[in-house]
Chain length 132, copies 4
């Protein structure tokens, strides 16, 4: 399905804006609009779900073996980057509100997954739905 | 609803693991298990949707005005951090596969949102569903 | 939170269109457009997820204790009915494609839930996330 | 992708339990457990999103051209029917709470879709994401 896959080059050589700077920008954006009153974690989880729904919509009619190419084409790529931006914003807002560090949460979960899916048994086998 | 809200202190003073390091770790995790064959962007969008579903499940019976407190309690906090870790992993895998830089996508979308929701008209008003 | 809740009167006294008639109409709609080629169960699950995302968007900024009233107001009610229609269409298409009878699936799951959540222990307690 | 697709025979020749009977059963199930206090439309939209997330999980690693067969196999079929049951329950609870008739909402949206996607222009073309 993905034999031909090669990791695409970065869109840009610019160094990624670090997460702390993004959080500072997001906080300012929210504060200027007085939106923190709407941003309890329950509502932000819903925001995240609705944004992910839009990202899923982008791929729903794309065949699996065309999915890599789809994200490289002009208009589709821009829409996908837009949706990923929305999902990232929602996720960072939720992390900021709950005081959960995204990088730490990812690293901690990755460590759990290493233990849960040992290389010798997991190799080449998709995780079973019941496992997650 | 969130009058009493105060940003919680970070779980840890440790510096966040930077995104590049996380990506390197994730790539190794996937490569060791030969899972890249399953990770086309369509499948990863579905992974993201299912992980977000689990995060939403955590809040579905929690009242809005109890949602901030919910994420501070012991077992619930751990589950929420776990689900955020899963969502973050899915999102980073999707970014890596499509070559879309998460930080850039967030920054670009935030810039668009600044234009779309001017402070003077958006202040104190939740975005309307039709707008997003 | 919902003390004041009273079941609203039906929008209409018309008898609900029965599911078999709806399925016949949906099949014709799809056949006329030659869309069955896109409607494998994986794609339909994604359609369902994206439509549910739009429904969730409708409620994300609505406070829990205003959620009942929200669905009764003019424009919001129409949008919600629209989104419910979309979700219903996606779900029926998936059922039709997989040959799973929606009514039977609901009845069977309800029977399981009766056993899983005995009245004496479940009464007045929201299901715990870990249980579902 | 779905050339070989043939509509599967119904699991059962039993007549589908009609929606009104299911609603009566669901209301009794909820009333016995005093759960109506948790079932405002916002929470039910979240329930729906989390159940759909579990259904999506079932298909995330299944290739598109294997998706029809996946729903016919023993254990997978049972899990999928289970998840469809959960989604149906959440959707019916939401319809009942808001007083929106599922059958009417589906029929009304189908009528809108007929106008939105005329046969002559839509034939054989997947809906574009931006359109939905």
């Amino acid at each position: 399905m993905a034999m031909e896959y090669r990791r695409p080059r970065r869109d840009s050589a610019r160094k990624m804006k670090d997460t702390q700077t993004l959080l500072t920008d997001l906080r300012q954006f929210v504060a200027e609009r007085d939106w923190s009153q709407f941003h309890d974690p329950k509502n932000l989880a819903m925001l995240l779900a609705s944004e992910v729904g839009e990202l899923v919509a982008e791929y729903r009619w794309v065949a699996g073996d065309a999915a890599d190419a789809h994200a490289r084409a002009g208009a589709a790529r821009e829409r996908i980057a837009d949706e990923i931006g929305d999902v990232g914003i929602a996720l960072l807002l939720l992390c900021d509100r709950t005081g959960i560090d995204l990088g730490e949460a990812v690293a901690a979960k990755l460590a759990k997954n290493r233990a849960r899916y040992p290389v010798e048994t997991a190799r080449g086998r998709a995780e079973r739905p019941a496992d997650s």
